[in-house]
Amino acid sequence: MLNPTAGPSGAPVPTSARLSLTWIVVLLAMVLLVAWAGQWSARRESAFQADALRRSIDVYALGLRGEAAKFVYLPFTVAQHPDVIAALASPGDTAMRQRANRYLEDVNRRAGSDALYVLDTRGNTLIASNWNQPLTFVGQNYGNRPYFIDAVSGGSGHFYGIGRTTGEPGLFLSAPLRSGTSIVGVVAVKVSLLEIQQTWGKVRDPVMLADARGIFFLGSVPSWMYQSTRAVDATERARIAQHATYGPRDNFPVLPWDVERTEAEPGYLLATKVDGIARRFMALDESLPNLGWTLTVMADYGPVTAARNRTWTVGALIAGLLLLGTMYWRLRERRYAEQRVARQELELRVEDRTRELGQAHSFRKAMEDSLLVGMRARDLKGKILYVNPAFCEMTGYRADELVGKSPPYIYWHPDDLKKHRRESDAVLAGNAAPTGFESRLRHRDGHDVYTMVYTAPLIDHNGEHSGWMSSVVDISEQKMAELRQRKDSEKLQHMQRLASLGELAATLAHELGQPLMALNNFAGAAKANASQGRLALLAGNLDDVAAQAKRAGDIVRSTQVWARPHLRGAESCDLNDIVTSVLAMVGAEIRHHQVRVSTRLDLAQPCVSGVRILLEQVLVNLVLNSLQAMQVVAVELRELEISTDRQDDTVRISVADRGPGVAADVMARVFDPYFTTKPEGTGLGLNICRRIVVENHQGALEFENRPDGGAVFVLVLKSAQ
């Protein structure tokens, strides 16, 4: 099979190519089928027609034979009649001839033949039925006519030809007239076949009659008359002329027929023109041996072609419909398949999505349920949409008791209703503090719950702001601790002092060790010098002893002040001097932190009443804090500004840095004990500083963030005046 898409190596044909190949095969098969069906239908139709032709040809042949047979005995019968024999025997007897004439006229009329006449042995007509008509045969010689020749030689003759006298065609039948055993004449009858021809003319399809030479002499198609189906040679033409069969005609052209024969079929197809119109016929020949003629009956082949065309049309229609149907079916199948696949995919996706959602949901639920922080979602008007178990636990109400409620909520503390209302309104207006706010709730069982509430906008899946989500942290523990701590403040401070005392004791030992041992050494030296009379050295030793004793004393005194600061009396302190000496003390640290220091000591009368060593301690603490704060900024930005100034009756020392400042969320707790932002801080430094300033000096320790970065701590003291 020709396969243009197959590769030379017989590689598998691509699917699409194979598909189109299938289509081509199917199409070919259909075309063949339709063609075959057309042919089959044409054959069937033509078989019908052939049958019809055979039937009609039988009818025509029968009619023709009948017409001939009807008169074939007439000449014999007439030849027996005594009057005729008598008239022939005595040609000179006019009366006898007249009686015979009348007899023939009578017989001819009764028989319905064209003419009935008697010839003598030379071919001269002696007696004729048309004896009294203008174109009478009497006296005519027909000796050249075949029917005469046949009959006069003892046979019976029959001959079709055009009458020599009348010029009209007819069938001539003859029989010999015997007198005893000798032939004395010939009786002939002329039968006109024009009636039959007229009958044939009424039929739509051509019916033609040809003689033995194939020349049509009778038929329904006038233009085919005296034309031949085959070539007529010269000899025949001569004989025709001799017999004057067709009058003076001597040319019989071959008909322009296109004949198509099939072996098995008796009939044949012929194509020709009739009156200028191309036509196709199915023809059937029937030879009539008695007469030597051939009867040709035709039927229009149009119906066969029409039947084939009809079958083809119908077949093509059916095939087209089938094809369309198949294509539609295939398309539908494909669409169904696609839909099925799509549906399965969709189902899978839905399943996946459902599982994911389920997981997400269970994950979220587990997360919400495990949260210790209460969660509360509200719409824009404050209606509660959702609370988690921790929130329910916090308030003592079930979720279904809270969801759907609007302010005032049932868990609001009755003493704080105004505050609750204000804060709730602020939240719903979008003005909630990002750092959250404290809120006191009333638990169902009546105890107070202190909470910290942080609120963020609730954004739905469309990205629209649909409400507020608050996280509520239970800070009751811290709150209680704070309260307890405030109550035990005095005790705590005392404890802290004790703690610092303990810490100091260890370093004290070290600090005191040096002067004490030096003291001992100098004393020992003095003793030796004294015993050896080296008085100058002795005096020096004693000075040294005194100095070391003072040093030890100073250390002890400062420690006493530290441990029990309120016991020490105040002295007049120069703040400028304190700043200078503190800067000297922490000089190494300042250099180590690579910080520039600028001072502005504007105080004219910088004196306050206070404990110098404590104020120094506070200032050292503040400076060290600032240095540490600036660790996180670039070296070129690290600048420490220390200034002193006066406001009304207060004097102030400001310590300003360029660090990150005090974070908003720790502002409130900066002075809390044990609160620290440093990894190794004790959280006591600023607390002690503030206590020193507030408790020992009735001053204040304040701080604020600088607008251009950094923080400033201000030590405010009463002026000495």
Binding site: H510, L512, G513, Q514, N520, N521, F522, G540
Partner: protein, 206 residues
């Protein structure tokens, strides 16, 4: 060894401590040298000579500690006798320090002038004996150096009491030659028998 030839080094970052110790020791006639840090001491003092160091254990945050100075002395095999001073301490510190080879350990707050003097004197005695030993060794080394290489070889075998024949076989020479070497060694090192030779060599690290 004469104690007055020995120097007492005082290493302390505290000026009062240095001065007072120096005054005390000077009043008793000792030679004193002062250093304000371990670094200057190691750089300037002659740590190859015998003597006593009174070493403060804690000297400023960035400076060498007394322990580090002590370790450095040991590393350099200094003959100096070390007397530690400490601001405060406990038994564990004391044990640790003496275990590592310090002569003594004094706590500043608990130490009177007399105790310091006592400890210094004891340390000086120790230093003097170390100095004596050092001198003896130097002398022995000189004697040893008078031996020929062959005599040294024979002496090293002899100290273990090895018999002459064996020594001769080991050193591949005649018994008579070994005999001669033995006599020479006895004369030069002034030792009577192999046991004395062995003690001489062991004492002087030869």
């Amino acid at each position: 060894m004469n104690l007055s030839n020995l120097i007492v080094y005082v290493v302390d970052d505290d000026a009062a401590m240095r001065e007072s110790t120096a005054s005390l020791l000077a009043s008793r006639g000792y030679q004193v040298q002062l250093f304000d840090s371990g670094e200057t001491f190691l750089a300037q003092a002659d740590i190859r000579r015998c003597g006593v160091v009174i070493l403060d254990r804690h000297m400023g945050p960035a400076a060498l500690t007394g322990d580090q100075v002590f370790d450095e002395l040991k590393r350099q095999a200094s003959p100096l006798v070390v007397l530690f001073l400490s601001g405060h301490g406990n038994i564990a510190v004391a044990v640790d320090v003496t275990k590592r080879g310090a002569f003594n350990w004094l706590e500043k707050t608990l130490t009177g002038a007399d105790q310091l003097l006592e400890a210094t004197a004891a340390a000086l005695v120790q230093a003097a004996s170390i100095g004596d030993m050092q001198q003896a060794r130097q002398k022995a080394a000189k004697l040893w150096d008078t031996l020929t290489p062959r005599e040294m070889e024979v002496a090293r075998e002899m100290r273990h009491g090895t018999r002459t024949k064996l020594i001769a076989r080991k050193l591949v020479c005649g018994a008579r030659a070994v005999e001669t070497h033995r006599l020479r060694i006895r004369d030069k090192l002034n030792v009577g028998n192999p046991a004395e030779l062995d003690r001489f060599m062991r004492d002087n690290d030869l």
